[in-house]
Amino acid sequence: MQILEIENLSKCFGGLTALNQVNARFEEREIVGIIGPNGAGKTTFINVISGVYPPSSGRIIFDGRDITKLPAHTRCRLGIGRTFQVIHPLQDLNLLQNIMVGSLFGQGNGLREARVKAQEICEFLGLDQLERDTSQLDILEIKKMEMARALATHPKILFLDEIMAGLSADETKEVIETIRTIRDQGITICVVEHVMSVIEELTERVIALDGGRIIAQGQYKEVANNPRVISAYLGEEE
C-alpha cells in the first residue's frame, strides 16, 4: 500500500528552483534511497515533506490525506519522522530528555510514559548512561540519539538525512542493521546518503535527484548505471 505520494512538488527560494516538479511514491515497509550530488535538492526534498518549508506548488498526500498545507508539528504527529543532516542535539537537555521530546510531543504521551518509551528505544538502539549531557556523547551516540528522537514520535515513515556521515565502517554496519530492524517493525524508511555502498546494501529502490529534478528511479544497479546519473556526479567532480 502507498504511504506517501508526492505530486508535482516544486520549491523556489527567491529565483533559485531547489525542487522542480518532483513526483514520487513511497510504499509501506519500503527502504528507499535518495542520491544526488551536492545541491541536488535532497535535503530540501525532506524539508518540504516534513513541513519545514511550505512548497511553492504541488501536493503531498500522506496516508491518504492531503498534508500540503499542514504545519510541521502536525505532520510529525501524523507520522512523518526525520533526522537532520547537520546534527542538532538539544544541548540543554540530556540524552534521555532529548528522546523524550519526540515521545512527548510527537506521540502526545505524558511525562512518565514518555520516559518509559524513551528508555525502551534506547535499549533497542543500544544507548546507555541516559543521564549524560549531549556534549559527552560521541558521534555514533549522537546519530543514534537523533534516530531515537525521531523514532519516539512513532513515525510511519522515517527520513534519515545522511545518517552515516562521519561513522566508521563498523559503525555503519551496525546502523544498517538497526535500520533494517526498524523497517521490520512496519516503518517506511527513506535514506539520503552520499555513501554509495550503503545505498547499495540497504535500499530496495533509489531515487536520483539533480538540479531539483528526478533524473532516475529504480533498482540501485539501474540507477547507478544511468548515464544521466553518472554525468551528474562526474559533473560535480570536475
Binding site: 537532520f84 521530546v101 512527548l104 528522537r149 525521531a150
Partner: protein, 274 residues
C-alpha cells in the same frame, strides 16, 4: 516584586525569545486594576486579578501577531508594543488621566505595609509555582527544544507557535498581576511610573545576574541585587549606582553564567572529580 518580574521574563526567555515588554504589561495590568477599581468599584484584590486577565488577553491577541518574529527583532517588537501602550495611555486623557495619572482613594489594606508585603510574597510564590510547573512538565521540554533548535522542535511534533503564544500570554499575565498589585500598594498610577523602562532593565539584569533558564536564578539575582543595592545606598549615598554598575560588569566578566549557573557548574565539576 522585581523577583517576580525577573522570573516571568526568564520564563519567556526559556524559549529563547528575549521579550522587552515587561514594563508594557506591568503598566497595562496596573492600569486595568486601578481603573476597574476606580470606575466600577471592583474589590482591589479582584481588580488585581482583572489586571492579570486583561494582560493575558492582550498578550494573547498580540502574541498571535508578533510571535512569528524571532530573536532581537522580537525584542524590538515587544519594546515597541510597550511604548505604544504608554503613548495610548498618555493620550487617552478622559479615561486614564493622561500624563498625570490617576490617584486611588486608598491603598490596598489601607497601606499596611506588612500586609502588602505578604500580598507580594503570595504573588511571588504564585509565580514561583507557575515557573516550577513549567520546569517539571512538558512545557520545559517544549521551551528548551524551541530555544535550542526550533526546526528540530517542530519536526519532533512541538507546536512551536502555540507554546510561544501561551507562554507569552501567561508570563505577561503575571507581569500584569504584579503591575496591578503595585498600583494598589501605592494607590497611584501614572504612565511615567508604570511604563518605566526600569521595569524591563532591572528584571532582565536580575535574571541574567542570578542565572537564566531556571526558577532559582532570577530569584537569587533579584534578592542579591536588591540587598546589595540597599546596602550600597547606606554606605555611599552618592555613588552607589556607580558601584552597582561596576558589580554587574565584574560579575559578568567572572561569572558569565550568572551566580546560580556558575554555582551549578562548579558543583558538577566537583562531583565529576570525586
Amino acid at each position: 516584586m522585581y523577583a517576580t518580574l525577573a522570573l516571568s521574563w526568564d520564563m519567556m526567555f526559556r524559549s529563547g525569545q528575549p521579550g522587552l515588554s515587561v514594563a508594557g504589561f506591568f503598566g497595562l495590568g496596573g492600569y486595568a486594576a486601578a481603573l476597574s477599581f476606580l470606575y466600577w468599584g471592583v474589590n482591589p484584590l479582584v481588580s488585581i486579578a482583572l489586571g492579570c486577565l486583561f494582560s493575558l488577553l492582550v498578550a494573547f491577541i498580540l502574541g498571535l501577531v508578533i510571535l512569528r518574529i524571532r530573536g532581537l527583532y522580537f525584542s524590538i517588537a515587544t519594546m515597541s508594543l510597550s511604548e505604544i501602550f504608554r503613548v495610548i495611555v498618555m493620550n487617552w486623557h478622559r479615561f486614564t488621566g493622561g500624563p498625570s495619572g490617576k490617584a486611588l482613594p486608598s491603598a490596598v489594606f489601607n497601606g499596611d505595609s506588612a500586609k502588602i508585603f505578604w500580598l507580594f510574597l503570595v504573588l511571588t510564590l504564585l509565580t514561583v509555582i507557575v515557573s516550577e510547573i513549567f520546569e517539571r512538565s512538558r512545557v520545559h521540554f517544549a521551551l528548551t527544544s524551541i530555544r535550542n533548535n526550533e526546526i528540530v522542535a517542530k519536526s519532533s511534533g512541538i507546536d512551536v507557535f502555540k507554546y510561544l503564544v501561551v507562554v507569552f500570554a501567561l508570563t505577561s499575565a503575571l507581569q500584569g498581576m504584579i503591575g496591578g498589585a503595585y498600583a494598589h500598594s501605592y494607590a497611584f498610577i501614572s504612565p511615567e511610573g508604570s511604563f518605566n523602562f526600569n521595569f524591563v532593565l532591572l528584571p532582565v539584569t536580575m535574571a541574567l545576574f542570578g542565572g537564566i533558564h531556571s526558577t532559582l536564578g532570577p530569584i537569587v539575582g533579584a534578592v542579591i541585587l536588591g540587598v546589595v543595592g540597599e546596602y550600597l545606598k547606606l554606605q555611599l549615598p552618592y555613588g552607589h549606582l556607580l558601584v552597582y554598575g561596576v558589580i554587574i560588569v565584574i560579575v559578568i566578566l567572572f561569572l558569565p553564567k550568572g551566580i546560580v549557573g556558575t554555582a551549578k557548574e562548579r558543583l558538577k565539576r566537583k562531583w565529576a572529580t570525586i
